[in-house]
Point group: C2
Chain length 453, copies 2
């Protein structure tokens, strides 16, 4: 790496850190809120061995300024019943939340409370305080172990984590929620711990190909079939990167190389596309010459981690149905707010009425007789004929327009439970310009990135 | 097989034989012409050991009434030079042909004369009279050996051969010329010799699947990669069925089974399709909804055995080019008279302007850099993006209409020598209704079978 590049990277680091590193004021305020809430938990729970604990990036000094997310765990002795934890935990959380600006109850593996205190978003999460990570009783119980491991290793590397997280944010691959399938904060921390610095992570990433496996504690016990495998230092059986999608990993690799060649601060800022207006939409459609087809329906009222896997599954199911009926899919995408939209760019929304239907190979008399009696004179465009040793017949295509296909086949597609219920209540299939009926600004931003990627 | 079927088959046999078996008058006339011509050859050649010989189906009593084709060989001693045979052979043939109604010189492996005597078509073919089939000096030298083998085995089976040949004619698979790629007369004779009767051949054929191998003399020495292998009883290295196409073999298998189930005299009569008129053509086009695209050019002035392999090669080359550029080919065919036409039914003659172009996989930096610099900002519809671990970009499609593709790519296609020269002189690409400009009646018959098969 030449000096020019080094200097530019240093300038980027300074400038980005100035923007993302929490200042003293933020730090003090956060610690004071956390301290107060933990104090309250300890006070309420002292007779039952229940105590508060700050976990997550705020506990490790690796949170990005303005993220303002505090994870406060309400730790129960491991011998307690799960039902007790759920009831008592929620009870304590509710009491604490009385002092919040606002709060709501949420449900992951078990219930917790999301509250806002002086502008800081706080999750109050009941968990078991088990002695070893291998003895966890629910997924959240693992978090304190992550916390302990990172705290032990991260001192002095906090800025490196901040830079890596912000780089991942800027290129759009940060966040392990199922909508995004990107890098989690913990994964970013482990990468820094493993490679020693932000730049070392990028250097390593730029050379990655095939499956990536990192096992800091050298204790992995299972094979994982994921694009990236980061063995959890606190649990040899677990892949921390299990959620990371291949394309998010590849994007990270690509941008790592690009940044090393040409360091630029823009990599640290997520580009938000402008909404696509009607005129631009028409122009895109005309210059591409392909067809768009979209399903619009009421988005089920579920959290993103429930909704998006179902949307992606729907996208995949419909793609397969389109391809099965010879509509070639060029691109597809999902969007959701109050409405949900699954959209496809296809080669053509129309196909010929005729379709060459392939029958049995020569020599299989039973299949041949069935084929012949099925296609003799009924709904056929040709005689039964032989090509390359197989029986063939030209028949009427079942679906010669994509809209008709969608209207008929969508209810039979493999759909997730909540989307399936929503679809039963009704949906629209929109083709080309009809999609302009969806005027939502965020949808229009999505549309631009759907076209230009 | 029940009695009803047996009776119907017997009735078919009688009725068909009545139609196709040469009568005494035809037989006498043919023998008298052959005798006279052979006498003349013997007379002219007696000083040089040159003699005439009748070969082929007329020599074996297995010709179909009205076929009227006599093969008369002018046999030279094997020690003569090839050049001598060619000159002297043609010289003798010319002399004989002075007595013909008309004649012309033709050229296969070496020159011969095709003449008409009293309505009988006679080929006068010079050949070497070698002692063993393994010592032949040119392909025609093999014929006398075939003649001898069949003559030795065929007595009493002549009617069986006639029925089999007529059946093959009726279902359109008879004739080993390269235009047809069907069963030769010799192959039909060998099938009867091997299985013992017309019906036994059909019985066997109906059970055929996979590669068929028959070796009457059990002396085959080579593996053949053909759909059917009939080892030549006079040459262990040769497959008599080498020319037979898979689909003609399959058609024969299919019709054999059908005939055994439902014997009907129509199997013995070739169905000639009616010419397709303009209104029907339009209706076919409209109801199918696909697109037709045809190349029309001047047919090179070559015999069918030279022309058709080149036409089929052209059909295959263009199919591959169409598919390569995403035009899906449903059907294709060739036709030739003075003009030649290669025609394709395709899913659509138009494609979107946009095409998703797939680049290198992640990790191959050199290819990735080349891909990026090639597609950055130039003629692209999208940014470079990543899908399923590969780089992609939406680009302008090179050919978005099939006609443009044909006009640009045809001269670069792999074309046979004579067609290539003809194409250089000019060709037309016709789309849909434009094809109606070809009014030739035989082409219009071809068009009907192209659609309805």
């Amino acid at each position: 790496m030449n000096d020019l590049i080094k200097n530019r990277i240093d300038a980027n680091r300074r400038s980005v850190l100035l923007r993302i590193k929490p200042g003293d004021e933020e730090r003090i305020k956060l610690n004071s809120i956390a301290g107060s809430l933990i104090g309250q938990i300890n006070e309420i729970g002292k007779n039952e061995g229940i105590s508060g604990q700050l976990v997550g990036s705020t506990a490790r000094g690796t949170w990005l300024s303005g993220e303002h997310d505090l994870d406060i765990f309400i730790m129960f002795p491991p011998e307690k019943e799960r039902k007790y934890l759920e009831e008592k935990g929620l009870d304590i959380a509710r009491k604490i939340a009385q002092g919040a600006d606002c709060f709501e109850e949420r449900y992951a593996e078990h219930p917790y409370i999301n509250a806002v205190f002086s502008g800081f978003e706080v999750d109050l999460v009941p968990a078991f305080s088990v002695p070893y990570a291998s003895e966890i009783k629910s997924a959240v119980d693992r978090t304190p172990f992550h916390n302990a491991f990172v705290l032990k290793k991260i001192a002095g590397l906090e800025d490196e984590v901040l830079l890596l997280k912000q780089f991942m944010k800027g290129i759009g691959v940060y966040g392990s929620e199922l909508r995004k399938r990107g890098f989690s904060g913990y994964l970013a921390e482990l990468l820094v711990i493993n490679f020693g610095s932000f730049m070392n992570v990028l250097d390593a990433a730029c050379g990655w190909k095939g499956r990536i496996t990192i096992d800091i504690e050298k204790h992995g016990t299972l094979a994982h079939n994921d694009p990236m495998v980061m063995i959890d230092p606190t649990d040899p059986a677990r892949n921390v990167a299990a959620v990371l999608s291949l394309d998010n990993l590849c994007t990270f690799i690509d941008r790592a190389c690009e940044f090393l060649k040409n360091p630029d601060e823009r990599y640290f800022t997520l580009h938000i596309p402008e909404p696509l207006d009607n005129v631009e939409f028409q122009r895109f459609l005309k210059t591409r010459g392909s067809s768009l087809i979209a399903v619009e329906f009421h988005a089920p009222d579920e959290v993103d981690d429930v909704l998006y896997p179902q949307l992606y599954k729907m996208e995949e199911s419909i793609s397969q149905v389109l391809e099965k009926f010879d509509f070639r899919v060029y691109n597809s995408g999902v969007w959701a707010a109050r409405k949900a939209v699954v959209i496809f760019e296809i080669e053509s929304a129309r196909l010929p009425y005729v379709k060459r239907h392939t029958g049995p190979e020569i020599g299989f008399r039973e299949h041949i007789d069935a084929f012949k009696s099925k296609y003799k004179d009924s709904n056929v465009f040709s005689r039964i004929y032989i090509r390359n040793g197989r029986y063939m017949v030209d028949i009427q295509r079942k679906y010669y327009n994509a809209k008709g296909l969608m209207l008929s086949e969508l209810p039979k597609c493999g759909l997730g439970k909540h989307i399936s219920m929503s679809i039963k209540e009704g949906y629209k299939v929109l083709e080309n310009e009809e999609i302009l009926a969806i005027e939502n600004e965020d949808f229009r931003r999505f549309l631009r990135s759907f076209f230009i990627k």
